[in-house]
Subunit: 486 residues, 2 copies
Amino acid sequence: MTAEEKTTFNIDKTKDFGSWFNEIVAKAELADVRYNVKGFVVFQPWSVLSMKEMYDLWEDELEKHGHLPAFFPAVIPESNFKIEKEHVEGFAPEVFWITEHGAGEKFEERLGLRPTSETAMYRMYALWIRSYNDLPLKIYQSCQVWRHETKATKPFIRSREFHWIEAHDVYATQKEAEQQVIEDMEITQKCLFEQLGVPFMFFERPQWDKFAGAVKTFAADCLMPDGRVLQLPSTHYLGQNFSKAFNVKFIDKDGVEKYGWQTCYGPAISRIFAGVISTHGDNKGLVFPFSIAPKQIVIVPINFDTDSGVKDKAVELRDRLSQRYRVQLDLSDKRPGEKYYHWEMKGVPIRLEVGPRDVQKKSVVLVRRDTGAKQSVKEEELLQAIKKLGNEITENLKKKALKEFIEKITEARTIEQMEKNLGEGKIIRTNFCSLEMSSAACAEKVEKELGARVRGKRADLNEQPAGECPFCGKKAGVVAYIARQY
Amino acid sequence: MTAEEKTTFNIDKTKDFGSWFNEIVAKAELADVRYNVKGFVVFQPWSVLSMKEMYDLWEDELEKHGHLPAFFPAVIPESNFKIEKEHVEGFAPEVFWITEHGAGEKFEERLGLRPTSETAMYRMYALWIRSYNDLPLKIYQSCQVWRHETKATKPFIRSREFHWIEAHDVYATQKEAEQQVIEDMEITQKCLFEQLGVPFMFFERPQWDKFAGAVKTFAADCLMPDGRVLQLPSTHYLGQNFSKAFNVKFIDKDGVEKYGWQTCYGPAISRIFAGVISTHGDNKGLVFPFSIAPKQIVIVPINFDTDSGVKDKAVELRDRLSQRYRVQLDLSDKRPGEKYYHWEMKGVPIRLEVGPRDVQKKSVVLVRRDTGAKQSVKEEELLQAIKKLGNEITENLKKKALKEFIEKITEARTIEQMEKNLGEGKIIRTNFCSLEMSSAACAEKVEKELGARVRGKRADLNEQPAGECPFCGKKAGVVAYIARQY
């Protein structure tokens, strides 16, 4: 996109989310879908600046909870995949295989590009862990993974390469591993909702929708503006499934050799980015929470070609604010109005305007992206005002998003009611027979008759069912949630 | 390695660098070579914590100079590689090829794992750049690259997967692109020497040793303790070679369509890590510069099982110092002496000892890793003392390393003299015929007769030759440097 093009954005996010999303990805230069490998996109600076902040956020939180970073290889020998039977069944169909190098020299064994790293990491864990002294082992890596998806790809939401963090932990006891799953959910709450303002529910997934090889899968679903849920971080209680397969053993305090208890947690940063922009964006374009905005403040000088000192002041403010914030100074030839539209579309939380009169008064004007509210601020109070405003913007986005999210959760007792609610873009709370494999037939009905999926039961609440499962008429064993999904 | 093992380290780095390096990589848990794909290693937390700081250092510097981050795909279609002829000749022999996915479904076209990203990025640059308004374009990405090396691999120094940053810039004019090469060298000086204390020389490489597709290659060589040089960041002036091949064009101010002028810069973080630990390490193990140490301070409490308040004080200090520094508190059962050896081997710059008497006196003891010097510091002066000490440690390491480096550069006029000097682990400064292809025969003599390589001429100095080339007897056209290499 050249600078000459019109930069205004105006698409109704709620009415036509599909267009809104595709257009904002292109207009704001978030990702370019024209890369010449199917299912792969180029993530452009405006999204990457933000994703880097998101990486820092999660990595800090993981390290605060005792995780350490590592870099494991991106290639995994085929034999590693075959060690855990359920895991290979789940992932093998999606693996990209490296079979040769150079002029076509074949490898003796195919090498898979990691679709996830259990089979790379746990072989090493088996070498590293000897005694209870080596536990817990809590390691994460920030990396890309590759999955040959057959579903239609969409930038950030689903592509054949995505950017994530994966944390893989080993404990001496089942109880500690179960506690780790709760810690993962708390980290998610802290990062995804408290910092990024994306409301979600953590579900324990039904047995037919688990991570391949896990005992239990817990996943956070957020809601996109078209009423379909998007799975964000998931955490898996692996029990001893992998430790037995990969021989991850330790000598316990009692001198007895035991298998470790494992968990893994996978916040997919590039996908979470989709959740953030879809949740907060409006008809004018992007709206970023303050802490992860690619640029937090844009300075737009007014009439800066005159001798008014405006340009010098704008540069001075840029230099001063850059010590604390990510700041953009727009000295381009465009008219101020054009600049406003452009940076609103780009989602910069605070616009700082400074003109000749402001210079004289030693003040500036601050404009909020989320509400459009303007205020004049004395220069000496600027840092304080920005700090306050940054917090207010994030808090306002959270509040608004949470309200919208809660309004979309509805109770339904009949299939007809569900169909109507799903058509309105809602998440359904309902009685359901069970989440065990014995209820897979009901789940199939949900898919066939409603085009929706059973997302599981709330992981944070102990909700009690009362009544029958609307799909089989049996006594309900669980309160489940049903939604259409990405 | 279990906690019970002996943690002392004692290998003479200068006399037996090979063993020193391999042993410290294992003992300090920097990397594990037992991963079951040849040429691939697992980078463990103790190196990754430090490499993450190094990434931040370079990324900040690149962004300060106007670069923006992006994420390009790791897979590149074979047809992209073929666009620039010299480039494909240079890299094709080393590419890992993805040929199939899932149960063996073949891709129509082979996909290469990026060995470097020119051929992924410049196709997109051709789409992004339209007019002079879009220039300069300065983009970097932090990622891994994969090269099927035939040389013996060694963790950090050379492996089939390494971690780097690559910056790819496009300018409207040749002059600006040439200036970018100088900027890249300045960034290298700032990060590699000023911050990490690794001395190096920037050479313009001979024409027979260029990056595939470049007009000119400039590379920083540091010196390993065994007298072999290690190539660290290199920057390449690409001229219009790639822009013509990839159609990277723009409409200039004069309305004329022109090809862009390009450069690329590639600091290989995992390899620079090898340079850092090899430069500063000593016979007791690792010695980290303060700013990139995995942990900057280790707190060792003395007699903390008594009612002396030592443990509480140690925890309090850990919590306080952690707000500013990366701090390790060692509350393990080991004797203090054992802990000292262990953390010295791990290279932690500052050890903080606190015992019952210190608690009473409200003071602590600080011990420097680089010199072993001890000092008692009042608690209220602690933050200031650590800040000062951190700077002193880095400055001392720089000074020491620079002195050693300069002593290793020697002048030689005859082949016999060179042979002697190379045997002593030195870098040779000599008259040489030229760095053009016409001198390739002399370069071959250097390789065959001396087992060494012509590294090029100094990029930062305009050194004038006086005399003949010792290899062909012709009048020397250049002052060149010769060394054995990794």
